[in-house]
């Protein structure tokens, strides 16, 4: 009988019983046919019940019966020591819950395959090498003409799909006053066919939508968006929306659950790549190239072919470069195409969070191991208390395996209950963490299905945990020699050794968790206290767009209007706020010198901008309304240092080499952060908001940001008023996004904050667990040696020597564990270096924090046991024995 039929037998016990009975009846009938006495035949059988027992898989029945008995017994044991059980279950639940939670995140963001056909054959073509700035890295953007070239080259080996970054756009369904936000992705029309996706309604985009630039104004909605925005209205087909100057018709809805190719973002609307301006530009890298290999095709040769395309394309492009240093061009040409697996999709979020999530998952696993060690210690101590019971069981004939089973089932109870509580914890915590990933006004959306993957993981984890903490105590319990145990003289040393070893392991892991948490917290602290060079207090930024580009004078007019609003202190205009992620850069040649090998950054600003931002003017003057770009510039100190060797640059001029425009420096301001918190301050040139073209005519502008410093300390109080005042000043102007500058600044440390917060949480949990573990072990040791302690006190031992006796063999373990943890920390720091900022693993403070904390916790945990030992009353103790 196979294992399966045995299990079936257990489930269908009744039927099996009936079958055995039936077979026996048939036998009796035959016998009667031969003329035998039915009563005599029945007697020969004995009772039918006995047959059932003997006939059926007897072993299985006994085993199941014992399983049930052990389960009941284990449950009673748990209930007997309620507090210890609850402590064990809760600590384990926290760890298991955190593990499941981490798994859900990692799975959703990094592992879960896209719901498309052939996801396992999906790759993303990235270029690897030195960037323009000479920093090694991987970039996954592609220019559309290159994409077309590559697609044609490898069409027999693979299908190439172009997808843009998912972007948040403003669009209107009815009047222009009602703009709304949606996530939009430009995709190749043939993507839907290649992915084997079906329409839920209407049609999807096809190869025919990939033909002519600008000629396919059709949109496909995601099922999720169709549901949330339109309530699954079938009449949505044929509706139009306006985005910028374009009008688009909705032609279909793609079946759920496909929501784009970026984990972390749910795409609402798909447009054909042909509708993006970039399709004709050979120097816009705005798409990702997804490569779906045909079945059985190897990556290497395909990659080689793509590389050949790429090299010739880059070579062609480099010919057009002017004013870029040679070394940069060489860097550019040396880049290589690599195919990276993308079964789970590709997104910046995923790339950003991969190392953080991995680090967190490891921390969580460590916490789980600490919890397991704790429960193992607890069970070992309990098993010691039950040594006599075990001995009795052995002496009345229980087999070793039976005892292992008994203890393991008790462990399974703990693990199961912990998993149930932990599951609830994960249910709540995973979405909570996701909600903290991005700034609140642009939340990450990650589908966290509670599917078979999660369930399977939870079950496997529970099983693993049961064996992890249950097996050693179980094996020990079963190895008891009944004679010595019943005499009460069982050798306790081996058990103590085990517990001490577990303490060392716990301390090592705890040290590691504390150490890493310390690094993360310090990183966050350094970053968030990083000086930005401007004051974000009371600053509101209003990203504003216009229906069609508007004259600069109109922009000034709106700014003037905002200055009249009560509660407004200062108003300025800028291309975009500092630190919001936008950037405009180029190579610069100062005073006729050859272009320098690093990029300068540019930002267009209105007069009064530096004052509004509270960036001190060090020399020269602010812009005048009559200043134009190109023509004049205000530079920061880093710029002066980089291009003028720190000499006073006032009155000197520089050339932007890409378009040979010249700027005269009229002012110098102190450094302010432009791009992010981590990099050194970039050389920056601020240029006048009023831009002129080659024929010196003022150019119109379609978007810019109003920077408003409010009087009240809460700038958001003015947000809605200002949002309404802007179109009131000029009806063509619409506000697309309102943020405080503080919010923008904080968005740069979201990941670090999350990492620091979670790492700190796990550090506290680990510390708590380790403390409880140490306390438990010492408590047990004191209990076990109480006779000895009693005698020592009776013969006059000092309190000090008793304390020494109790702690002497545990503290070396703490020390050893600490050292091991230190070693682990030094090794692991290499893997998390990219997540750290201005903090070294070898900093004394970084090492002192976990050491001292652990020491304090160890002392605290040891105190109760020591006090108990010292207070042992020898008379009462010896009498009780």
């Amino acid at each position: 009988m196979s294992l399966w039929s045995r299990i079936i037998n257990v489930v269908r016990g009744d039927r099996l019983n009936r079958e055995v009975d039936e077979e026996l009846e048939s036998h009796i009938e035959e016998a009667m046919g031969q003329g035998r006495d039915p009563a005599e035949v029945r007697r020969a059988f004995g009772s039918a019940l006995r047959h059932r027992e003997a006939s059926r898989d007897a072993k299985l029945i006994v085993w199941l019966e014992s399983l049930r008995a052990d389960a009941v017994f284990g449950w009673r044991q748990l209930k007997k020591s309620k507090i210890t059980s609850a402590a064990a279950i809760l600590s384990l639940a926290l760890a298991i819950g955190a593990c499941i939670s981490a798994f859900r995140l990692v799975d959703a963001l990094l592992l879960h395959p896209l719901p498309v056909a052939g996801a396992d054959r999906l790759y993303v073509a990235s270029r690897q090498g030195l960037s323009f700035n000479g920093i090694p890295g991987t970039f996954d953007g592609t220019e559309y003409p290159l994409f077309q070239l590559m697609r044609a080259t490898v069409k027999d080996q693979a299908e190439l799909i172009a997808v843009s970054w998912a972007q948040r756009v403003d669009l209107t369904y009815a009047s222009d006053q009602e703009t709304e936000k949606a996530y939009l992705q430009y995709v190749s029309g043939h993507m839907f066919g290649t992915f084997g996706l079906q329409p839920a309604l209407g049609r999807l985009l096809t190869e025919n939508d990939d033909l002519r630039p600008g000629a396919h104004p059709y949109a496909v909605l995601s099922h999720d968006y169709w549901t949330s925005r339109f309530g699954q209205d079938p009449k949505v087909i044929g509706r139009t929306f306006r985005m910028g100057t374009g009008l688009y018709e909705i032609v279909g809805v793609v079946e759920s659950p496909f929501t784009g190719t970026e984990p972390g973002t749910v795409t609402d609307i798909f447009l054909p790549t042909m509708m993006h301006e970039g399709v004709t530009h050979a120097d816009w890298s705005w798409i990702r190239t997804l490569v779906q290999l045909k079945p059985g095709v190897a990556t290497e040769p395909t990659c080689e072919k793509l590389q050949a395309n790429f090299r010739s394309f880059q070579g062609e492009r480099a010919k057009g470069f002017t004013g870029i240093p040679k070394q940069k061009i060489q860097n550019f040409l040396n880049q290589r195409i690599v195919l990276e697996p993308a079964a789970a999709g590709v997104s910046d979020l995923e790339r950003d969070y991969r190392p953080s999530l991995t680090a967190l998952a490891i921390l969580v696993a460590l916490v789980l191991l600490i919890a397991c060690a704790n429960v193992a210690n607890l069970m070992t101590a309990q098993a010691a208390a039950r040594a006599r019971e075990m001995a009795l069981r052995i002496s009345i004939g229980a087999g070793r395996s039976r005892l292992v089973q008994l203890v393991l089932i008790e462990g399974a109870w703990i693990a199961l209950l912990a998993a149930a509580v932990g599951g609830l914890f994960a249910w709540w915590s995973a979405p909570f963490v996701v909600s903290r990933i991005n700034p609140p006004d642009n939340p990450a959306r990650v589908f966290l299905p509670a599917d078979w993957r999660v369930l399977g993981f939870a079950l496997a984890l529970t099983l693993a945990v049961t064996f992890l903490f249950g097996l050693i105590p179980a094996l020990r319990a079963s190895a008891i020699k009944p004679a010595s145990a019943l005499k009460g003289g069982e050798d306790p040393h081996s058990r103590r050794r085990l517990m001490r070893a577990l303490i060392a392991v716990q301390v090592a892991f705890c040290f590691l968790v504390l150490f890493v948490a310390g690094l993360f917290v310090t990183t966050f602290d350094r970053l968030s206290h990083q000086s930005t060079g401007f004051s974000a207090e009371r600053l509101l930024t209003l990203d504003t767009v216009t229906e069609s580009p508007q004259a600069s004078a109109f922009w000034d007019q709106v700014a003037d209007h905002l200055r009249t609003v009560p509660g407004v202190e200062k108003v300025a205009l800028a291309g975009w706020p500092l630190l919001d992620g936008n950037g405009w850069n180029g190579f610069v040649s100062a005073s006729g010198a050859p272009p320098s090998p690093f990029l300068a950054y540019f930002l267009s600003v209105s007069p009064g901008w530096a004052e509004t931002m509270k960036i001190p003017l060090i020399g020269g003057r602010d812009f005048l309304v009559t200043d134009t770009s190109p023509g004049f510039a205000i530079v920061n100190e880093a710029f002066a240092k980089a291009y003028f060797n720190g000499e006073n640059p006032l009155g000197k001029s520089f050339e932007k080499t890409s378009d040979h425009t010249r700027f005269q420096i009229v002012g110098v301001v102190s450094d302010a952060r432009y791009r992010n918190m981590r990099e050194p301050i970039t050389p920056t040139a601020y240029v006048p908001f009023h831009a002129i073209d080659a024929s010196k005519l003022l150019m119109n502008q379609g978007q810019a940001t109003f920077i408003v410093r409010t009087v009240s300390p809460n700038p958001l109080a003015l947000a809605s008023t200002l949002g309404q005042e802007i179109p009131r000043a000029r009806p063509e102007f619409r506000v697309s996004r309102i943020r405080t500058q503080l919010e923008i600044n904080q968005s740069h440390t979201v990941r670090e904050r999350l990492l620091a917060m979670l790492a700190l949480f796990f550090a506290v949990v680990a510390l708590l667990l380790a403390g409880v573990g140490l306390y438990g072990v010492l408590h047990y040791l004191v209990l076990q040696r109480r006779r000895e302690i009693g005698i020592r006190i009776a013969v006059g031992a000092q309190a000090r020597s008793i304390a020494r006796l109790v702690t002497v063999d545990v503290f070396p373990m703490v020390l050893m564990g600490g050292l091991a943890g230190l070693g682990l920390g030094m090794v692991s720091v290499r893997y998390i270096e990219t997540l750290l900022y201005q903090v070294k693993a070898t900093d004394l403070a970084m090492l002192a924090f976990p050491s001292l904390t652990l020491l304090a916790v160890a002392l605290l945990a040891a105190l109760p046991a020591v006090i108990r030992a010292v207070r042992t009353d020898p008379v009462a103790m010896l009498r009780a024995e």
């Binding site: 055995v20 077979e23 048939s26 036998h27 035959e30 031969q34 020969a44 006995r50 047959h51 059926r56």
Partner: protein, 109 residues
């Protein structure tokens, strides 16, 4: 534990042998066959036969299926499997070894 039968552990061998000669027998027929072929010397007790049959079925030596008899009652018919044939060979040679050893002892003593 089932009480030891009079066949001294040779029940499996006998059942396998019978089934190798005559496929598809029910329990009663196997019992009768052993009795008849041993000249009424060997008697299988019902209380041992069925546990043995089910045990051998579990071991994969024999397989069983239900048929409906003329009387309308269902009967369980047993037949040998490939593993059973192999087992039969092993049991037979073991039996030969044991009996010849016993005979040797009887002769020498």
């Amino acid at each position: 534990m089932p009480k030891p039968d009079s066949l001294q552990g040779s029940l499996d061998l006998l059942v396998l042998k019978i089934l190798s000669r005559r496929p598809r027998l029910h329990g009663y027929a196997i019992m009768s066959a052993i009795q008849a072929m041993s000249g009424e010397v060997l008697r299988v007790e019902e209380g041992s036969l069925y546990p043995a049959l089910h045990r051998m079925e579990e071991a994969g030596w024999i397989r069983a299926e239900w048929i409906t008899k003329d009387t309308g009652r269902r009967a369980r018919m047993y037949e040998l499997t490939a593993a059973g044939k192999k087992q039969l060979g092993a049991e037979e040679s073991r039996w030969q070894a044991v009996t010849s050893a016993v005979n040797r002892v009887l002769r020498m003593a």
